[in-house]
Amino acid sequence: MQNNNKSERVRSDEKIALLNDQVAGNGLISRRHLLGLSLAGAGGLVTSSVLAADAGLLTRPAWSMTPGRDPSEYGNPSSHAAQIKRLAPAPNAISPGTGASRTPLHLLQGTITPNSLHFERHHSGVPDIDPAQHRLVLHGMVRQPLEFSYEDLLAYPMVSRVHFLECSGNSGGNSSGASASDGSAGGIHGLLSCAEWTGVRLSTLLDEAGVAAGASWITATGADAASLGRSVPLDKALRDVIIALYQNGEPIRPEQGYPMRMFVPGWEGNVSVKWLTQIKVTDGPANFRDETSRYTELLPDGKSLQFTYPMGVKSVITSPSGQMTLTRHGLHEVTGLAWSGSGSIRRVEISADGGRTWADALIDADQRELALTRFRLPWLWEGAEAVLQSRATDSAGNVQPSRAAWVAQYSPANRYHFNGIQSWAVSAQGEVKNVYA
């Protein structure tokens, strides 16, 4: 009883100290608490409540008393983490293999997406390609058309780059839905992943074939049943596009284009053509279905934007996020992801009061270009209703717009390139829900 009283008193003292360190409304606490400069009390606050719950002698678990299993050839996650899966739809009966599965962003940490959880978007399923029979043909406006085998490309000098990949239609449900859907962070924003991609610079291959004078675009197609095609301006193709052969160190997965995909850093995911088999150098875009009918943005006046390539500056809080429930009062970490197709992330601000006040989140120091950034900020939640938001700024000075400002730019029919601010409402009971705010 005496201990409990002491604990209550400590808690209240620490709370006052934390509140004195508040940097924005509704409980957002200074980043100092994440930088190892925190008040001694912050850790104690959590520890005391845990100890109270687990009073009694510790026993040794069974797995400490008997040898575990042998090493294995290809590892799997713990059976206790088996619920961490892609959010995949039911099979498409009309157009087999067409559809998407989403990365469960709300169940992951850090910035690298495991290969098994990288989002998928296919337009006619995942082909089972024998790399020995696969060919990459480079032709069109070149001095010498060339054909490369997979084995040929493995012998070329390679580069490794960490980049996000985001589908142009990501988060589209929040762009046009009349009311906010009851979704999780992965369910709404999970057409987003980040991996280390290793492969051959496209410029190396283009130089080998010799680009002819007057060429200004490349047109690329895949070896899937849809033979999906996209056009890319030649200057981008020469700047940083790679023929990716490896994903996080292993051969790229079939659903990412095995044995090779074009990877176009920072640009809408659809242009990173999977199962790449053809690059035709041209003097103009092909105007494929996926750059006319789809992946164009209808404006309120009936005109449309075409070839909108870089993904806009964007962020989303992954915890706390939709469909989660906060089960205790006290200190929480607000964390999420930020990215931009126009550079690196300079700043992420967080609001707990629906955008009235903002505080700078801590972002990792080693910012990469065109890659995911993890941000964090402590938040003291004591049961008050809250609306959590994040707002990213990139190295080019672009600031993530509010949802309302984004919606006003387009026709209600447009769902592409949505990068409006995500709002998560937290109820007094701790339930977190997607809202428009």
Partner: protein
């Protein structure tokens, strides 16, 4: 993997010889110099080998094959291969886009091949490479001309007896052409 086979070596020597001759002729281009970046393993091929393999059709008609078709001929092709999902009049069905009709000024807008697509070439390119979904690339070049003519006719863009071929297709004026703003230089 690292044992160079004879073919690779010889093609490499050949390309070096070519570079040398270009250099001697004073024609050495920047891109030829850059080829030194890689081992030069690309095998030369000829564009003629890509006939029937390269399916890319551009708005100016580049890539269109021989052959022709009318909407009258295309109706049967359409009804056999397309109507089950896209509807008898191209009205679409649940989860399947409408092809004809629609307008961008209604609320909500209805974006169909007829009301939205800027180029007829895209119809030819897409149908040939990706349709029908259960058997893509199964239609002959002539059948593709026929069925594209029929889809255009469903939206009232061409007459029933209009002959669609590599010369006439690039001339077809789509209702929404000219309403696309090119953002490709915003990188």
């Amino acid at each position: 993997m690292f044992t160079p086979d004879r073919k690779h070596v010889s093609s490499r020597f050949k390309s070096k010889a070519l570079l040398l001759s270009l250099a001697v002729g004073g024609l050495l281009s920047v891109s030829a110099v850059m080829a030194a970046d890689g081992p030069g393993l690309g095998k030369p091929i000829d564009e003629s080998q890509l006939q029937g393999w390269d399916l890319i059709v551009q708005p100016d008609g580049t890539g269109l094959p021989e052959g022709s078709g009318t909407a009258a001929q295309g109706q049967a092709v359409y009804e056999q291969n397309c109507a089950a999902c896209h509807g008898m009049k191209g009205e679409g069905s649940s989860g399947v886009p409408a092809l004809a009709g629609g307008s961008l000024t209604t609320t909500p807008p209805l974006m169909t091949a007829g009301s939205y697509w800027p180029y007829a070439s895209t119809l030819y390119d897409y149908v040939r490479r990706a349709m029908p979904p259960l058997a893509p690339k199964s239609l002959s070049n002539t059948e593709v001309y026929q069925v594209v003519a029929y889809v255009l006719h469903l939206h009232g863009i061409v007459e029933r007896d209009f002959v669609l071929d590599r010369a006439s297709l690039p001339q077809v004026k789509m209702p929404n052409s000219g309403n696309f703003i090119d953002r490709s230089q915003v990188q």
